[in-house]
């Protein structure tokens, strides 16, 4: 079935919502009274807006009753992260990680990557998480990326291109062979293509962009980066056609986007206009 961008975006929003609006915990699994009480308070906090006084009070009470209840530490931290208070976020989140490295080390690593672009710190967390997960680190909190792809992007931004390609291979090729095309992330081929472009492997980058088109072809970033690569290969006429297509797609709302942060390799209309102007001057 060919998915439209709108359907994909709705699916992503749904997945994001599912991840951020955490699910309720089955409190019957606990046998001691403090865990049961904390669990019930944690579930009840979900009745209030995230970050509201009531929600935070419920979570605070859950922690006071049962300081071992990692989920409450994690949940109380989230509004601080989303609202730029990274000190308080870390204070709470670190307690969750200390109590339950699996899965919260992976969550912290991903948050450091996404919200702070702390590539070095994120990579340390994710590499440890990779080990404790038995080398099956699963997906990011928003469901957009396999964590190997996040690790690849961290390595890329730190300038370690061969290591980035190693993680891309684990996050794309291994997933493709073991689980099939539908498990490869929405924009993973694009990110690997941008990495190869930076490595001046233009043919390799175009090959990955071709894979991206086969996977899903209707967003501006694909044509923006094809345009840049054609420009670098001195195929200016093709580059301008690609960039104009990217411009049309951005103007019609078909581009990478996230409600919290700028996404990796996301392009803005000004990026496209600058590229067009630069190539026209050649």
């Amino acid at each position: 079935m060919h998915l439209t961008l709108k359907k994909c975006v709705l699916l992503l929003v749904l997945l994001t919502g599912m991840q951020w609006c955490r699910s309720q915990i089955n409190c019957r699994v606990f046998t001691d009274s403090s865990h049961i009480k904390a669990c019930l308070l944690y579930n009840a906090s979900d009745s209030f807006f995230q970050g509201s006084r009531k929600a935070q009070q419920y979570l605070d009470s859950a922690i006071r009753i049962c300081p071992d209840f990692a989920e409450a530490w994690r949940e109380i931290s989230v509004p601080y992260l989303k609202r730029g208070d990274f000190f308080t976020w870390r204070a709470y989140m670190d307690r969750a990680v200390a109590l339950k490295p699996y899965p919260f080390l992976g969550v912290r690593g991903w948050c450091r990557f996404k919200f702070l672009r702390d590539y070095e710190g994120a990579l340390i967390d994710l590499q440890k998480f990779d080990t404790i997960s038995g080398f099956h680190p699963a997906y990011s909190g928003d469901g957009n990326y396999h964590l190997y792809v996040v690790m690849a992007l961290c390595e890329r931004e730190l300038g370690n291109y061969p290591q980035a390609l190693h993680y891309f291979s684990l996050g794309i090729d291994s997933i493709l062979s073991q689980q099939g095309q539908s498990w490869v992330g929405f924009s993973d081929y694009l990110h690997r293509a941008v990495t190869k472009m930076r490595m001046k492997d233009y043919e390799g980058a175009l090959s990955d962009l071709d894979n991206q088109i086969k996977k899903y072809d209707n967003f501006a970033e694909i044509y923006y980066y094809i345009g840049l690569i054609h420009g670098l290969m001195h195929r200016e006429k093709e580059a301008l056609t690609d960039l104009e297509k990217a411009k049309t797609l951005v103007n019609s709302g078909h581009h990478l986007s996230d409600i919290y942060c700028e996404l990796p390799d996301e392009v803005f209309i000004t990026d496209i206009e600058e590229a067009i102007s630069r190539i026209k001057k050649l």
Binding site: Y80, F86, F87
Partner: protein, 183 residues
């Protein structure tokens, strides 16, 4: 008659016992210090910035203090104009000298009111390990001044109505240079 207390005979065993007791007391004290005491009062919403006469311009008003959205609740001006905002800061910011140890995160959080005016600016400074840090004032004051002078903000809009909203900008600094701007 003066009472003389017989001094405790210092044998190797008593000495070790004393050391053990001191260590145990220290561990116990540390555990107590780390024990979660809870928060006495949370703000109405996490991250709320109350008016402070010492810090804030009294002419800046919030249209509806009961409903101040977060930037991610609607399509925000910041997200749509990030490149222009990045360009503004990077082109105006001038790193000073002696910046070798000036690395970490500077976050400026503020309100955009329903008319697109900005106010109630607050700054949070952290080192690369997310610990509180004080950057040279040449860096922090400059970033704050640039943030306050940035014009052109537009209010958050939801279902055709304008709202006040919170926005934050984080500068990742490496040796005094702006490495990136987020979110």
């Amino acid at each position: 008659m003066a009472l003389c207390r017989t001094p405790l005979k210092q044998t190797p065993i008593t000495a070790w016992l004393l050391v053990l007791i001191v260590i145990c007391n220290n561990i116990s004290a540390q555990t107590k210090a780390e024990r979660y005491k809870g928060v006495d009062s949370f703000p109405s919403n996490t991250g709320d910035i109350a008016f402070n006469t010492a810090l804030d311009d009294p002419s800046f008003t919030v249209c509806n203090p009961q409903i101040v959205l977060q930037y991610y609740n609607t399509t925000s001006y910041y997200k749509q104009h990030k490149r222009e905002i990045e360009h503004y800061f990077k082109s105006h910011y001038q790193p000073g000298t002696e910046t070798a140890d000036q690395s970490g995160y500077v976050t400026i959080r503020f309100i955009i009111n329903c008319s697109g005016q900005t106010g109630r600016f607050r700054m949070y400074e952290l080192d690369t390990g997310y610990k509180p840090f004080t950057f040279h004032s040449a860096i922090s004051d400059q970033l704050m001044k640039l943030a306050k002078n940035l014009q052109g903000w537009q209010p958050a809009v939801y279902k055709g109505k304008t709202y006040d909203s919170y926005q934050y900008i984080t500068f990742t600094l490496k040796k005094g240079l702006i490495e990136c701007i987020s979110p």
